[in-house]
Symmetry: C2
Subunit: 243 residues, 2 copies
DNA sequence: AGCCTGCTTTGGTATGACCAAACTAGACTC
DNA sequence: GAGTCTAGTTTGGTCATACCAAAGCAGGCT
């Protein structure tokens, strides 16, 4: 059954490839919900039957879905349908970005955009952080202090502190952006020697930002954030000599 | 020739796929410059010979390169090597983002991040725009004024005005981000009726931002920008009823 | 009930073949 | 001799078939 109307023999290929068509068909079935999130794709041989195309075409279409992040294809299993999230979107360009970063000033440019964004976020926080947000910041700050002597723990609590700024607005894109920043910049930071006094300095910087937010002073908050970030950048540069 | 050492028969597939390996090999050859930008990839059949794999594997690897934006594969031509740029990186997630946008508040969330970023940029412009930057803004502003009666022209000059803020810092990532914003948000704006009086209002908004920058007043510049953007958002909402 | 074994399913790969568009080079015309 | 036409040669796109090995399953054994 389901012979459909497709011409069986070597297709008289017109302008576009059959693989693209099938890709679009599957794409639609996923976004329309006909193929449910978490469910596996039909077996390749079944898709072959259904659409009257060769397995080659099916594989290429599925591979494209996988590359675009619409399905998750583990080496030897049926591909699992994945609805797109901001995270998967950013994961998709992960390798691209990694290549961008090795270009001259690549890391610096990315880091600068982070400063730009996070400066705006701390300003926002200074203006409209509510009780709950401030409590979260305080908790994270305390965690910083407690972890000063434990580099790994401090690294985590450091990221957690910054993450809060990306959460405050409630815009779901921002936390994803923060994760992207940390993931992409991590290779630089990881190798940076982390000593207790560095952690102490960072804690102080965090506290300065926090205090400025408490005072509802966006200018001071931004200034503190920028000091903190440029300081961190200086540290990275000292570690790597130059970038 | 080039029989190499690969076992010819059906490969005893271990843990990972040969296509991934070949992908990584080609990936390296591209980023190392061994395969030059703009040059075509070798013919599939030649790659088959060189690496002792089947054409199936070669096709999958090349398709993966194409999906990641490392090569540009037109329907019937040899794939052309493309070095990654911020633009290609963002093009890669284009379809993903498009899907993100149809989710509840998708457009709004993206637009909010644009406001966040551009607000930060106009602040920056107010503080450190140099003569040349300001001249560019003036030129763009004049172009706005001139195009008020021509909707298409105004749309272009409108974008050009905003683009300047993304150029000022000299960070090459930002112009790419601007293009991504305009491309992704364009579907909404395109359908918006553009009347001369709307253009006039937008021109006035632009002028307010420009004036604030001239006065070196970041707070005023940000405020003017936010008014402009929220006004634009209101217009979009009125056009679509609700989003 | 729990473990073992063998059949079936399914993705990964290899081959070989054919089509049609693109490319190339030699023949032909002016 | 420059330009054009044409036949043969690439080359990407697709199809069909076959085999491997891991995963999944089911029936049988302990």
């Amino acid at each position: 059954m389901t012979d459909a109307s497709a011409p069986k023999t070597a297709s008289p290929q017109t302008d576009k490839r059959a693989a693209d068509d099938l890709f679009r068909i599957l794409e639609r079935k996923i976004s329309s919900g006909e193929l449910e999130e978490g469910a596996p794709l039909p077996p390749e041989r079944e898709i072959v039957q259904t659409y009257g195309v060769s397995r080659t075409v099916v594989r290429e279409a599925v591979l494209a879905l996988s590359n675009k992040g619409l399905v998750e294809a583990k080496p030897r299993f049926r591909p699992i349908v994945r609805k797109p999230s901001a995270d998967t979107a950013l994961e998709t360009i992960e390798s691209l970005v990694r290549r961008l970063l090795v270009q001259p000033n690549g890391v610096k440019n990315l880091f600068d955009t982070r400063i730009l964004v996070e400066a705006a976020l701390v300003r926002e926080a200074a203006v409209k952080a509510n009780k709950s947000d401030i409590a979260n910041l305080k908790t994270a700050l305390d965690a910083n202090l407690e972890a000063i002597s434990d580099n790994d723990a401090f690294y985590r609590s450091d990221m957690a502190f910054h993450a809060i700024f990306f959460d405050i607005s409630g815009n779901p894109l921002l936390p994803a952006i923060h994760r992207a920043y940390t993931a992409w910049l991590a290779p630089q930071w990881k190798q940076m020697p982390r000593m207790a006094d560095r952690n102490r300095t960072n804690y102080d910087s965090h506290k300065a930002i926090f205090d400025a937010i408490l005072m509802r002073d966006p200018d001071a908050a931004e200034a503190a954030l920028r000091r903190h970030m440029t300081d961190a950048w200086t540290q990275v540069q000292m570690t790597f000599g130059d970038i």
